[in-house]
């Protein structure tokens, strides 16, 4: 993975750029000392590191607008950053770029229970939204595993998911509005407390745009009333196929569980060793199924799921009998990453989505790849929606191991696309999967997507080098191909 070569002219003007930024954000809001900059050198994708030219931490929409206007004038690139928990390198700094951190946008502006929404600044963490509304028994549904640390602005940028998006949707399905600043400094509002934004759905297009389209300065999200009860089940199987079958039958019978997670033997072992979660060690696949809703419904569905599980040959089945036990069932799955961290010095987290019924085939081929590359892989899987998280175990201290792990990861993602899936279910493309975009999209597909960027950011200064493998100038993207066009197309029926 290569980033675009830094512009030496910009680097030579660093002092001037810093003083322009200091004029906008006074005090400690501009960070330029090397020691302090190192805090920002990477995000959750720690394999790639780069010191930013300078970091700026504005406190108001006006400051964000002034910074972007100044950077546009100076031709300086800008990389937006929330909490830096992203897993695909979307917030990886540029040597010739300003990293713009939203960490000071921490206010909860308005909680409106009647309209089931909360208006917050982008630096508020995902979990803090739920915390702010839980005394009224409300919560914010999308729950990425980093929710204690990750910010809602970053969630919007990445279209973050989580365990419960099977039933409640991703960020994009729970977002009502944003205020955002465009690269030229213009401030726009999309949506609000009403349910659909009206006109072209720019709100939908901005969600998951990985910081390439604008800087979000305010977010309105939908909050939901907590379900009356939640119950979790552990269901184990002798084969991965039987586990996959169980998932298909549950969905096929019309049940949409709050969450339905699956893990393979290596993952089960790692998690159970890390924390006692009641997981059986003698199964090949384990499902954690959560049913939520009114008590009468949950009781009824638990019985139905039990019947289905038994019909496909489950060898282990336990239903949580208390809130404590439900939490215990989740403990292992929630600590998937640290558990795997315990059995391997390093690991890569992959994030493809596949049509569910292709799972057994994908897992089999992944095992073969594991042998070919000589690297172990543990699988956790948002089984209900087909989102696969293979964790590739490697040792960064072994020369060549990272390269091998990355090649293995690429092969897995290519496999996902080959069976009808996609490169990323919830972690984003960033720099990590950028060079694989061609597996899914044609040149024309990608150019059309980049024309959207041109509409938001004519000079291509916002987070360049991310998501798209080839940088095109907007003028070039605007050129029209000349088609033959004079033919009377004899094949088309005309009336």
């Amino acid at each position: 993975m290569k980033m675009p070569a830094p512009d030496q002219d910009i680097i030579a003007r660093r002092a001037e750029i810093i003083s322009r930024l200091k004029a906008i954000v006074p005090g400690e809001g501009v960070i330029s000392e090397e020691g302090e900059l190192s805090v920002f050198e990477c995000d959750g994708l720690m394999a790639y590191k780069q010191l930013p030219m300078v970091v700026v931490l504005p406190e108001s929409t006006q400051q964000v607008s002034d910074i972007l206007k100044a950077c546009s004038e100076l031709g300086v690139k800008v990389v937006p950053r929330g909490a830096g928990t992203g897993l695909s390198g979307g917030a990886l700094p540029l040597a010739d770029g300003v990293t713009l951190g939203l960490g000071k946008f921490k206010k909860i502006i308005d909680i409106d229970y009647d309209n089931r929404c909360a208006v917050v600044q982008p630096g508020v963490t995902n979990q803090a939204i739920t915390n702010a509304v839980m005394d009224q028994d409300f919560y914010y549904a999308p729950d990425p595993s980093s929710r204690i640390a990750c910010t809602i602005g970053g969630n919007v940028a990445e279209n973050a998911g989580g365990m419960h998006c099977l039933k409640y949707g991703l960020t994009t399905n729970n977002l009502l509005g944003v205020e955002m600043v465009l690269m030229d400094g213009d401030v726009i509002r999309l949506g609000g407390k009403h349910l659909d934004p009206g006109g072209l759905d720019l709100l939908g297009a901005v969600t998951g745009s990985e910081g390439l389209l604008g800087i979000i300065t305010e977010v309105t999200v939908r909050i939901l009333k907590k379900p009356e009860t939640q119950q979790a089940m552990l269901v184990g199987f002798d084969t991965v196929e039987a586990g996959g079958d169980c998932v298909a039958k549950i969905i096929g019978s019309g049940i949409v569980p709050g969450a339905m997670e699956m893990m393979d033997k290596m993952a089960i072992d790692a998690m159970q060793r890390f924390v006692d979660s009641g997981y059986p060690l003698d199964v090949e696949a384990l499902l954690v199924i959560e049913l939520d809703g009114p008590v009468a419904e949950v009781d009824f569905l638990v019985e139905r799921v039990k019947t289905i599980a038994e019909s496909v040959g489950s060898t282990f089945l336990r239903v949580s009998q208390s809130e404590d036990e439900r939490m215990q069932f989740w403990k292992g799955r929630m600590s998937a990453f640290p558990s795997v961290g315990r059995i391997s010095p390093d690991y890569l987290t992959m994030d493809g989505t596949i049509p569910r019924h292709r799972l057994p085939e994908v897992l089999t081929r992944m095992k073969e790849l594991s042998v070919t590359y000589g690297l172990r892989v543990a699988n956790v899987f948002h089984a209900g929606d087909g989102n696969l998280h293979p964790l590739i175990l490697y040792d960064a201290n072994q020369p060549g191991d990272l390269d091998k792990a990355e090649a293995f990861g690429s092969d897995i993602l290519k496999l996902c696309v080959e069976v009808g899936g996609v490169l990323s279910g919830e972690h984003g493309i960033g720099v990590e999967k950028r060079d694989l975009m061609g597996e899914m999209f044609s040149e024309d597909d990608m150019k059309q997507q980049q024309r959207l960027k041109c509409a938001f950011d004519t000079m291509g200064l916002l987070n360049p080098g991310k998501v798209y493998p080839t940088l095109h100038r907007c003028a070039e993207l605007g050129h029209m191909h000349v088609h033959g066009g004079k033919l009377p197309f004899p094949d088309i029926p005309r009336y």
Partner: protein, 395 residues
């Protein structure tokens, strides 16, 4: 003379659009043409009719996904789903009462982002659309999204295409999420709510997972074909509950307890009456075809007061967040009065004569910076403004 092209394959669609691009001829893009009354009237030299690019290409009920060519009749899609006891959960409305046309295509449903009463629970058409294939106004094939629910690969052009009324590209194929039909549906009716908006909020914000909340003022309720509603003699607030039978029974009772103190009395509708009532609300069967109709998407708690202030016939859906307003015909459909009545939200003139729609902003005008951005986005897809020019205004 307006020429009509009726391609049967994607390759022919591509050819037709490339012809239009080369000759800078505008195209009106239609499916079956059932919703031509929506948006500004389009003036174009040729019509591209997509209804022959038809057929379901993939349906995997256990994966909850379907892919269909854009011109597939929506009735064909719904029949296939019916067979597997599944549905389009966002409840697209039929243009039957609105435009006097039955039918429509699946491409048209997504291009217009039609969503019905279940929208607050499950999302709009845009939330169910997973991916598409299209031809841009540059005469190039492009796609976005896929056939899986969880996908953040590249910009989400799928959302942008939903509701773009054929102005960004000619969709040739769409993939979308489908859901199992609920086992059981019932409706709790609150008759004579003291404060309808309070009752709607109480239902919507309860933990009983209601699947729709609407309000019919007494004169409108009198036009229902469901006796309990028709003969209520007062305003009727309706709350739908869906799910497995034991759950529905318990939740209905709980909601009756919540709602009873908020009005004169409560009633309960069983399956077939529930189906009839919500089809009426979804398709808007209550207004005579003389009326001009507005659709206002507003802050839900403000909906009722706003609707009353607008002094026309109305019903409220989406727990107050959606106002269907019917006004006596006028030259400007009272556009400035309607839009002057609220600050947050937007209003679309859904039905008025062609000359009226040509005269007013059918869609809510944007603030300057957003309008400029909107224009640049459109230019990226259709630089010469050849696809349904002006249909969404600003043309």
């Amino acid at each position: 003379m307006v020429e009509i092209f009726k391609p049967e394959t994607e390759a022919q669609v591509l050819e037709a659009v490339q012809w239009a691009v080369s000759n800078k001829n505008a195209l009106e893009i239609i499916g079956q043409g059932t919703k031509r009354g929506l948006g500004c009237p389009v003036v174009a030299k040729a019509v591209l009719e997509m209804s022959a690019v038809s057929g379901i290409t993939l349906y995997e009920p256990e994966e909850l996904v379907m892919t269909a060519r854009a011109g597939t009749p929506i009735a064909e899609v719904e029949a296939a789903l019916d067979d597997a006891n599944q549905m389009l959960a966002f409840e697209p409305w039929s243009p039957k009462y609105m435009y006097g046309c039955e039918g429509g295509t699946v491409g048209g449903v997504f291009a217009a982002n039609l969503s019905g009463p279940r929208r607050p629970l499950v999302g709009a058409a845009r939330d169910h659309m997973l991916g598409f294939q299209a031809i841009s106004g540059r005469g190039e094939r492009f796609k976005s999204g896929g056939r899986v629910v969880k996908n953040v690969t590249g910009f989400d052009l799928t959302k942008l295409m939903a509701g773009s009324m054929g102005t960004l590209g000619v969709m040739t194929e769409v993939s979308f999420k489908v859901l199992p039909k609920p086992e059981k549906s019932r409706t709790v009716l609150l008759i004579g709510a003291t404060f309808a908006h309070r009752a709607m909020i109480a239902a919507q914000c309860s933990s009983y997972e209601v699947s729709a909340v609407a309000h019919l003022p007494h004169d409108i309720a009198g036009r229902s074909s469901v006796d309990y509603v028709k003969n209520a003699g007062r305003d009727v607030t309706a709350v739908r509950i869906e799910g497995p039978a034991p759950s529905v029974t318990v939740r209905c009772q709980a909601l009756r307890d919540v709602l009873a103190p908020l009005g004169v009395s409560v009633e309960e509708l069983h399956s077939s009456n529930t189906q009839t009532l919500w089809a009426e609300i979804r398709d808007l069967s209550y207004f005579t075809d003389k009326k001009q109709i507005w659709r206002l998407s507003v802050t839900p708690s403000e909906g009722q007061a706003l609707a009353e202030a607008l002094a026309g016939e109305y019903i409220l859906d989406w727990a107050g967040g959606l106002i269907w307003l019917a006004l006596d015909p006028s030259d400007d459909a009272q556009a400035s009065r309607v839009r002057g009545a609220f600050t947050n939200g937007h209003a679309t003139c859904m039905r008025a004569a062609d000359d009226v729609r040509a005269r007013i902003d059918v869609f809510q005008p944007h603030a300057a910076a957003l309008a400029a951005l909107d224009g640049r986005v459109r230019a990226g897809f259709d630089p010469h403004g050849l696809l349904n020019p002006g249909r969404m205004g600003g043309g």
